[in-house]
Structures are given as C-alpha cells and as structure tokens.
Symmetry: C2
Subunit: 765 residues, 2 copies
C-alpha cells in the first residue's frame, strides 16, 4: 500500500488544528514512563503505531460488507460459475499458503542447520587443537557477520520486518490495517533475517517470521486477484503459527491467541493449510533422511520425543507440579514486566537512528557469543558414564555430551547446553533418563544466562520469535527444580524441564489449550497431559493476577488499537451519546450533493465515512408529511473514486442504474488507494452535482444514543465494524437522523479515560 | 421450568386466530415427507420442537444483559468482595462440573464393564459346555431386561433423556431454551439408562449422556444460586464431551461443533473443567489397577494404543488414503441420509404412544442380541497363530482371539468382534500387527451388521451417543480395505481401521480439527497425523457436497430453531423492514402506563418484549419542540413481576429510586417464572398506573429498517439476542420510533421462505 495514501485516513481528530499538532510534534520522541507513542488528550487519538520497528500511520480495516447498489447488482449478476470459481480460488489460496509456508520453513531450517552446524564443527576443531582464542574469534566473528546481515537488512530495507510480527497480525485480524507489513521486500528480509539471526545463535525462535510470511503470501497473492481483505483474512489467519511439528497446536494457537472472530469455516480452511504444511515438511524430511541436505535431517516432525519414558506419578508428585506452576506464573509475569521495561529503553535507543539500531543488535550478538563461548570454561569436566560409551564424549555438531575443553572420557555439561543451536539446546535439556548428566551449577548458569539473553535479545532489529527464548528459560528452572527434587519424586528430570517450559509459556503468554496441545505434539507423550494441564492452569492463574499477557503488553506498547474481547466494567456507566458529544459534529452529505461540498469535506476533515441523508422525503407509510431519511454511509475511498472519475451531473437528479454500471465496477470500489490531494477539480466542476445514492452503503450498523459503551463495543468487535452510526432515541421533526459516528479509536478504554478521567476511579482491576 | 408458563411465550403469531390454530391441530401428527413438526405458513411459526423424544414448547434465551435502572444500581452497589465472590463461584462451579462429570463417567464405566463383563463370562461358560441355546437365552434375556429398564425409565419418567442430547445442547448454546432437559430426574434417568443400554450391548456410545449430564449439573446448581444463564453457559458448554481419554479433543469438539460463541475465557474455563475430569478419571483408574473395581480397570486414559507401531509410509500410500477419505465422505453422507429417513419412520411409530416406543426399543435389543450371538456361528474357525500361545484362544471377557464354538487351538474371529462390549470390539478391530487375524468375510459381516444396527438403534427411546456406532462402522470398512490393499501397501491393518473410523466421523459429523485431535489422543501416535489430516479433509469435502452434517439434520428434524453461522445468500436481497411488514403491528407501552393496558397486552398477545416510549418529550439539544423518545424494551417476565407485586401508582408520576429498590431485587428479576393467567388484578387496580422506566432495558440492540436480513442475522447471532428492535430510517414528527421487533424465529431461513417463497428461486445451494 502507498504510504502517502494512508497518512490522512482514519484520523478522526477532534478539530482541524489537532491534525497540525500531530504533524508538528515529533512522533518519535517520548519519555520512559508513557506509552511509546504519546496520545493527545482527545477522544480519537492520532493513528500512529509501531509496526515492526517503524512508526506508521494505521487505519481500520472494513470487515463489514459494503452493501451499496453497485454491490447488490454485482452480486445478483454473479453466475453460478463465478461463485464456484471464487470458492475454488479461496481453497487454492489456502493450499498455496500452506505450500509456501512449508517450503519457506524447510528452507530456513535447512539453511540454519547447515550454517550453524558447519560453524560449530569448525569451532570444535579449534578447541580440540586447544587454540581457544582462534576458536573464539572464529565463533564470535561469524556470529557478528550473520547478525550484521540480518540487522542491516531489517534496518535499511524493511523496518517492519523486525520483531515477532505476531502482535501486528493479532491487531490486523482484530481490524487494524498495518501498512508495509506485507510485501515481497518484507518477506525476503524476513527469510534472510531469520536465517542470519538464528544461525548466529541469538536467543530467538523462528516462529514469528514464519507467521508473518504466511500472512504475507496470502496478502500479496490476494491483492493481485482483487479479492477483498475479508476473504484473505479468512483464508489465512493461521497456517500462521507453525512451530515445526506442532500443526494442531499451531491451529489452536491461532484460534486462542490470534484470531478475533472464529468460525467453523475458518477453522476448517486453516486446518487445510496446516495439513499441507505438514505434508511438505514430512516430504522434505523424508528426502533429507537420504543425506541430501548437508547437516540437516536429524529432526523429524517430533522435536523432543519423550514418548519412551514411562510416566508414573502418584499423589506426592502434586507438590513439585504445583511448585513448577507457581514458579512459572511468577517468573512469567516478572519476565513480562522486565521485558516491558527493556523494550521501552530499547525504543529510546532505536529512535536515535539507524546506526544505533544496528549497534544495539551487534552488541547483543557480541555479548551472546562471549557468554556462549566463555561460560563453559567455568564448568568442571564430568567423567563420562561408562554406560554410554558410544555417545560420550561427542565432538560433533549435536549430541548430549560435548567434550569441549575436557580430557578424553570427560565432557563439559555447560558446553552441551550453550555451544550448540537453540533447537539442540532444548533437545539436550529435555533429555530423559539422564539424571546425573548436568551439575546444578551448570544449569543455574544456563538459566541465568538465558534470562538475560531473553530480555535483551527480543527488542533488537532482527526478525524474532518469543517461543524459543521462553522454552529455554523455562526448561532451565524446570530441570534445576528436577535436580533439587530428585530424591523426593520419581518424575524424570527431562519431564521437569518440559513442564518448566510449559509453565513459563503459560505464565508469560497466558495460553492454555494451545500450549497444552503444542507440548503434547512436541513430546508425543499423552500421559503427560494431566500434569501439564495442572501446571498450565496454575501458571496462568498466578500470572494473570500480576499483569496481562506479553502480547497484550507489546500491543499496548506499540500503540496498536487492539480491541479487547471484554468491555471494562465502567463502560456500562457511559452511553455512546456521551461519547459522541465530545467528538466534533458529524459531517454529512445529501443524497445528491454539490461537488464543492464533497471536496471541502474531504480536504478539511480526516473522516473516512460520511452519512448520507435526504431531506423532505415523504415516508411511504405513516403520518409524517416531511421527514429526513438516513440513506446510509459513504466511504472516503469511494468519494475519491467519484472525484477522480469526474462522475458529475449538471443538474440535481438521480442517476440510472446503467450509468453507474458503466462507470464503476465492484473491483474498483474495493481499491483503497488515492488521496484527495491528488484530485484536481476545476471551478466549473465544483458547481456540479454527484448522486451519492448508488455508492452509499445502505445497511450500516447503528446504535441508539442511549446504548451503553460496553454493549456498543461488543457489537463493534463481534461484527468487525469500521464505522458505527449513532442514531437519536428521539423521533421528531428537526432531529437529525444521525448524531455521530464512532470508530475503533473512540471505543478504546485508554482513549475514553483521557476524556472521562472520573470513570477511572470506579474502575476495577 | 413450569411447562404451562412456557406455553404462551415467544409465539409471536401473526394474528390471534393463529394461536387457536396451533392449539387445535395435533402437534404430533405429520406425514413422512415434512419436518417432524408442521409449521404454519406465517413468519413466526409456532414454538414447538422435539426435545429428546418429547414435543415441547421452546423459547429463546436472553444472553443480552438487561441494562435497566435496577441492574445499574445493583451493579454500582456491588462491592469488590461480591465481585470476587462471584468470580470464585464461577470457578467453583467449573470445578464441580468437572468433578461430577468425572465421577459419573467413572460410575457408568464401572457399572457397564462389570455388568457386561459378568454377562459375557456366563455366556462363555454355557458355550464351553456346548449349551448354545441356554447361552443364547441367557444372553438375549439379560440384554432384554437391561434394555427394558433403560427404555421404561426414558419413556415414563424423562422422555427428554432419550437420544444423544448433543443437538439440544447445541441449540441451547445457540440461544434456544429447551424445557425439561435439565433436572435431577433427567440426570438420574440418563445415568441408569446409559448403563442399561450400553451393557445390553446396544450399538450406542455413552458420550451423549455424559455431555448432557455435565450441562445438567451446571444448570441445576446454577439456578439454585440465582446465577443467570449467561454465566452458566459460560461455565459449562463443554466439559461436555468427554470421550474418555480425549480431553483436548473434547474441548475442541465443544468449540467446533457445539458452541455458538467462542471466547478465550470460555476456552480457559472449559479447559479447567476438563482438567478436573481427567484427574478424576486418572485417580479412579489408578485405584482400579489395584483390582478393587471388579472387571473394570483395563482401559487407561488411552483407549486404543497404537503408539508401538512404526509408521512408515511413502508416496504410494497416498492411494489407499485417498480411497478411505472418499469412501468416508460417501458413506458418511449416505449414513446421514438414511438415518434421516429412519428417524422419520421411528417418529411416526413413537408418536403412537408409550407402548410403541417401548416395543420398538425392545425389538431392536432383541435383533441386536440375535445377530451378536448368532452370526459368529457363520464364521469358520481359524487355527491360532503359534506365535501367540498365551493369548489365543481366549475365553475371558476381553481378548483378541475368542474361542467361542471352536475346538481348542482355534478361535472364532467374528465372535471376537461381536460377542464383546463395544469398547472391546473397537479395541479388537484396531489391533495392530495382526494382519492375518480376521477373515475378510468376517469383517464384511461385522461391517454390514453394524451398518444396520447403527441405523436402527440411534432413534430408540434410550440415552445414546453417535460416536461409537460411527467408529464401529468406520473401522469395519477401514480394516476391510486394509485386508484388500494388504499386498500393495505397508500401512498396518489396524491403522486402516483407525483411518476408516476417522473418515466416517468426518464424513458424517463433518468435524475436522476435533476429530483429528480426538484420534491423536485415542491412538497416542503423532506420526499418524499427516495421513489422518488428509483423510479427514477429503471425507469432509466429499460429504459436504451431498448433505449437511448429521447434527444439522437432527436439529432441523427436531424443529429446533438453530441459527446458522452464515446467512443464506438471498438474505442480502431482503430488508428487515420487509420482514416487519408481514408481522403484526408491534404492541408498545408508554413510560407510565395504565395497568389495564398492560394486562390486556399480556393477555392478548404472546409477545415477550414490548418497546417503551414517551410522547411529547423535549430533547435536551436540538431544534425539536416535541418528540417521541424510545426509552427501551421491557420483558413480559418483568411486567408479570410488577403485576404480581401490585406495584401500582394512584397517579401518573415517575417513581423514585428508593421505591424501586424497596420492591425489587435484581435476583427476582432474573426469575422467568409466572404466568399472566395466575395474576389477579382487581377492577380498581386496572385504572391505576405503573412506572415502567426503572424496569426497562434502556440499551436494546437496534437496526435500521433498511438493514439487510443477512447482516441483521449476523448481529442477532453474534451478540446473542432475543429481541431486536427495528427503527425507522425516517426522522420526522409522527414517525414511530420503533416499527417492529424481530425474534429468532423471524430470522430463520425456513420461516422467511414460507412468506417470501420467491426468494427460494434465487437461492443457491
């Protein structure tokens, strides 16, 4: 989407001067103790938000079907073949999304495993020759270069590609259009950036990038065929989260965390996409088993198989399970709190310019390299258990007993965890039936390191995901607890690590069902289910009592106007009429309007929707002789189309159906491009007329002015609106049929409280 | 709920004479080629539906919050403690539901396994002594008695307990109140009936009863504490489907199939309930492993463990997978079609009286017994594979190689499948690594028998579920296909059976994600996932091209006014104004109304909601001097409360806040009991006044008359309405602020098409 065009949309500002205010003040300056973007103390605040690492102007999406005459004609004239074509196309799209996501996922995995693998093999060789400094220089240097590539791409070419992308997708599906998120450049940067960042050993996962890629593919292919956003959103929403090997969990994650509306059909198409992805992944893994993929080919669909463990637990095991749950909740909310602070600080640094962004990323990479390489020297060498003669010690890329700096027959347990890829680290710490493998001190160092890395890595300007850092941290304290509880329980330490990871996910992201299914799929052990469920429930409950989920925190921080599912309690005490009163008067048009009026309205306001009314109409039934008729609402985009096409009439008359059909097609009206500044209207044309009736959406959603904000918000969100008309509860001559229009920004709790601060007092947390 | 009270509710009939018509004609007479309940050719048809096996009057639930003054006062006065108490209670409720569901599930399992087990052991003893006739008499006689107990309970004490209950629950959550569904008697009959019917070896599952029990528990406990339906629904919705051992699948089933609205909070509480159930089940199984539960104790959480099978498949295996998928779709839709016909015939039989119902059930039981006992004699004896010396032949209750009438060292493969409990039959046919165990002819007989039984058993008057019959049928043709494809593929026959069962479920019930997760949990083998997904997708797609899902067919058959998620395409061509025009004029009240008017309106109409308007009001702003104000909508139940409490005023005045608080509490208004016929109003009282303002819901949802029915339906369903006010698009003196009220029945496609038959022509299937 053209950036200029979005600059002036949807900023329903209280007065015209406010607009200038927005332009004048630097949107990138803000102190530490306010949301990243300062908001005006008006009801409808400015439409700025952080998309990726870029400050962008955002607008609302229109999920509502715009039922104007043209749409109805178009709809009636559609043949059965066209309908079938359309359905076929939707499914093809779902298939393509699945296919491409699968291919890209494989590509990233392949590249990461090979780059990181050869890197680690080379480092191991230096260490074997005891050339530790050279090893370090090689390790750190390569990581530095990889990070540099990832960061420079993100900073210079696609700032929206930075970060996890999931908050943006969540907002998008909630109805917020985030420009520049989806496009070929962003996709490319995402892929290369992910490969670079993950192979550099940074503490981040790759599920975020994958999510965004899936969305990007759909978005770009969708636009090309003139299919409106509604359908696109539909088709996608979620092959989206494909933690490799957790397809059902991914679908559920999309449902639980990402999707705002939910329908059987959506579930069904999402599931189809996911099935395609799984098949693609399986096929490539099958291929790689034959050794054609370099170092890749170890991981199957199941990432951490603990199905070989006999799970037997009794009532006494409830104690460690409860402890893990509580710890997960406390640490999860603490992590949310600290990450919030770190992101604020990072934002201040990032705003200073591109060079600062780059430097920040590179320092984090350097710090990570130093720790991963240096810390293992602190660990004592452990003699190998003679019962594992084949696998201990290992010097290869992966393996549970890394020799590192130890003499033969010994291994360095910290190197096993640190000097490896993130996936392998998880696999190693989840390893079962190895109760004596790790020393408590090593696990402690591992845990502490990943707590620090988890906090400082997330905000840097590379594509990143939150799943892996949280799993690493969680498995750390889980395993530590397992070692401490060892004498008291017969739950395996590997299971403790799994439970720890699950508890931290629930404590930080506050998901339950999807985390449960994801872990079920990752571990392939159903008998873990009951204790996993209990751990998740406790962790989420404990976490919820401290702060909101990490995604909600990030959404708020980025200023994305996300609409919550449940209205705040104080919203029951406020009517939409009161909200409308603090907004500027609504600008409306007559059914047949003078061009000059339209041009003025478009130039002087930033509204995106205008009610269309006819005066002096005689209702077909009833006693009134003269009444005002509310015809509907017309969109700015359509008005601009009218002006561009110079669809003017010399006299004040209604147009015929054929005239409309001749000039406009439904596809043209679906376009949102165009800006009033680009439209030139001559002086003569200014005195001409436009018949707005055919382009007016005659079925807008309305609420009475006495409606409570709580209910209005539920309606707005459930139906996916962009504009909601407020109609008077009074009926009489002289009363205007529309007393105001509410938009997404007007219904956000944060914005309302700036105007009605007294409501906050009655606010219950 | 009192049945009389519901007789006159919600039947918004076109004219008063129609009401008599409804009373006159026998609701239980109908020919074979119409829906089970004849509908009048009016917009709002009569509110009759089949609940269980009983014709009942139904009404809509009110999910909307009734925001009147009293509610607002009550809400404001609620202390923090009360809010916490409320939250605590909601969670306690979820816990209790989980606990009780778990206990009841265990109870049913325990009873079934023991009754059926001892029955089979005794039969086997007779057979070993070659006293075949005695064996048959014993077998058939016991089954007859068990069925008799189940059927007599259902027929005489709780006709609503018959059938699966899932369609009724689906309708309930969609907003249809189904009386007599939930109560102690029904619950008791459900439990005993399930035990009887399942141990009698009838071809039905027990998940339906369990579902209803969970709902019943919540409903009854909820009412006792004055918690409104909204919250109850919330708390439950779905511990609901606990196919034992598939907790996550159960939650998903509830989401995919049952729940109309879906929220994160709902998912979260449902998940909690399910976790409790799983823990209860696990604990009792743990106890039973110690041998304290008689013959029960074999099954763990995992029902059919196929995790020991190494799943390796290649591209060639796509062929059988596609065949199974297509077969599942075709057979599933065929099953839906035939079951529909059978249910119609059964309905005709059942309507003849209780004796017929009972006879039908008993004949089905007798037929089942004859087939299960007699058919194994047709099978040839197979010599035991010497590699299974311990388990072949078996004479115990369960086991894969039943000796039956065979000499030592031989087994009867058909007896293994038929002369056992349904659960064991599934376990036996799913058994893996036994490629030579079953002869194709035996599987064919098994499949044919269960096709017949699956069709004739479902509609009889006992509590029943659809899952098990479908799994049995599906596994039959799956395994058969496995035997036929044996030389061509290396997929195990047991897996073929699993895939067959999955495909038939998808083909008949049209669920995908939940079936997938259920099978994942039942089989505990993740590597099956990709092929399961493909099979499900194909089966659902094929099935969808023939007819709707079995639940939709049953809902329609029962006449439950279920609102679909997606409006029909032709609904875009109709406005709500046109709908309102064919309804009788709306009956409205003044803000301060004469008692006589209220009594008359309540007696002469069956409306449940009345708009409240004030004439001659001067709006606070605007140019109008005199306007009509739409104050809101008042419910019949509240008006009856007013009349019962004789809350009358001598003069026409507004009441004070304290007067209202003195007389009404919020809890009283939540009650829906009471009937206008029971209210006695004296002649003097008739001339007094009532101030309706404090009891009026001031925030009703409204739509403009120009709104399309498609959009109005989406609004109605998404927000969970009972009444939707239609307001005029004209604004002028003399125009009434409300031109009509739409209810659930008015928005159902079937009802609209009876009034606007021409729309059906443009209908696209």
């Amino acid at each position: 989407m053209n950036e200029e065009s979005s600059l002036h949309k949807e900023s329903t500002s209280i007065n015209d001067t406010m607009e200038e205010e927005v332009e004048e003040r630097d949107p990138e300056s803000n102190p530490l103790n306010e949301p990243l973007l300062k908001r005006n103390r008006t009801l409808s605040s400015n439409p700025l938000a952080l998309v990726g690492a870029k400050v962008s102007y955002i607008e609302s999406l229109d999920y509502e079907i715009n039922e104007n005459d043209l749409f109805k004609q178009d709809w009636r004239s559609r043949s059965r073949t066209q309908v079938l074509q359309y359905i076929f196309w939707k499914w093809t799209l779902a298939f393509l999304v699945g296919l491409l996501t699968g291919v890209i996922a494989t590509l990233i995995n392949l590249a990461v495993e090979n780059i990181a693998g050869y890197k680690l093999l080379a480092v191991v060789k230096y260490i074997q020759k005891e050339r530790y400094l050279m090893g370090f220089l090689y390790f750190a240097g390569l990581n530095f270069i990889l990070t540099f590539v990832a960061a420079i791409l993100c900073v210079c070419f696609a700032p929206t590609a930075a970060g996890p992308g999931i908050p943006e997708i969540k907002a998008y599906l909630n109805g917020v259009d985030t420009p520049n998120m989806y496009g070929a450049t962003t996709l490319f940067v995402k892929i290369i950036g992910s490969i670079g960042a993950v192979s550099a050993g940074l503490d981040l996962g790759k599920e975020g990038p994958l999510a965004k890629e899936a969305l990007t593919i759909t978005e770009s292919s969708g636009d090309g065929f003139g299919i409106s956003t509604t359908i696109v959103t539909d088709a996608i929403s979620s092959p989206v989260v494909l933690l490799q090997g957790a397809p059902v969990g991914g679908v559920l994650f999309a449902l639980e965390e990402v999707a705002t509306w939910w329908r059987s059909a959506l579930l069904w198409r999402t599931f189809f996409s996911t099935a395609v992805v799984v098949v693609v992944l399986r096929a490539t893994i099958e291929l790689c088993h034959e050794g054609k993929c370099g170092l890749f080919g170890e991981g199957g669909l199941i990432m951490y198989d603990v199905s070989n463990v006999t799970v037997r637990y009794n009532a006494m095991d409830a104690i460690p399970v409860v402890i893990i749950g509580v710890l997960g909740g406390v640490l999860g909310s603490l992590y949310n709190y600290l990450l919030h602070k770190v992101l604020r600080v990072y934002n201040l640094i990032n705003q200073k310019g591109k060079m600062y962004k780059l430097l920040l990323s590179l320092s984090v990479a350097l710090f990570t390299s130093i720790c991963q390489y240096g810390l293992p020297f602190l660990a004592k060498c452990t003699p190998c258990d003679p019962s594992f003669p084949d696998i201990c010690p290992t010097n290869g890329r992966s393996g549970n007993f890394k020799q590192f700096n130890c003499p033969d027959g010994h291994y360095n347990d910290l190197a096993t965890l640190l000097l490896t890829t993130n996936d392998d680290a998880v696999r190693n710490i989840f390893s079962t039936n190895t109760p004596l493998e790790y020393q408590p001190s090593s696990i402690l160092i591992f845990f502490a390191l990943y707590c620090i890395l988890g906090l400082i890595t997330f905000g840097i300007a590379v594509p990143s995901g939150l799943f892996l850092p949280i799993i690493l941290m969680g498995s750390g304290y889980g395993r530590l607890l397992g070692i401490l509880m060892g004498p008291l329980t017969n739950i395996d330490q590997g299971l403790f690590a799994v439970l720890g990871a699950a508890s931290l996910m629930a404590g930080s992201m506050r998901m339950t069902v999807s985390v449960c299914v994801i872990f079920l799929e990752l571990t392939n052990n159903l008998l873990l289910l009951p204790i996993t469920m209990i751990v998740l429930l406790i962790a989420k409950t404990v976490g919820d009592s401290f702060n909101p989920s990490i995604y909600e925190i990030i959404l708020h921080l980025k200023g994305l106007p996300f609409m919550d599912a449940n209205p705040e309690p104080w919203m029951r005490n406020l009517t939409v009429g009161e909200l409308v009163d603090v907004k500027p008067a609504v600008v409306s048009f007559k059914g047949i309007e003078k061009v000059a009026n339209i041009v003025n309205a478009l130039r002087n306001t930033t509204h995106n929707g205008f009610p269309v009314m006819d005066d002096g109409v005689v209702p077909p039934t009833g006693v009134a002789n003269e009444a005002t008729e509310l015809h509907g609402i017309i969109l700015r985009a359509h008005l601009i189309q009218v002006l561009k096409k110079k669809w003017f009439l010399k006299e004040r008359r209604r147009t015929e159906e054929w005239e409309v059909r001749e000039k406009f097609t439904w596809v043209e009206l679906a376009e949102r491009e165009g800006n009033i500044e680009d439209v030139a209207v001559t002086k003569e044309e200014m005195d001409m007329f436009v018949d707005l009736h055919p382009l007016t959406n005659t079925t807008p959603f309305t609420v009475l002015e006495s409606m409570s904000v709580a209910k209005a918000m539920v309606l707005f969100r459930q139906v996916g609106l962009r504009h909601m008309l407020v109609v008077p509860k009074y009926q009489g001559s002289g009363v205007s049929p529309v007393i105001g229009i509410l938009t997404r920004q007007d219904l956000l709790a944060y914005n309302i409280l700036t105007v009605f601060p007294h409501l906050a007092k009655s606010k219950r947390k």
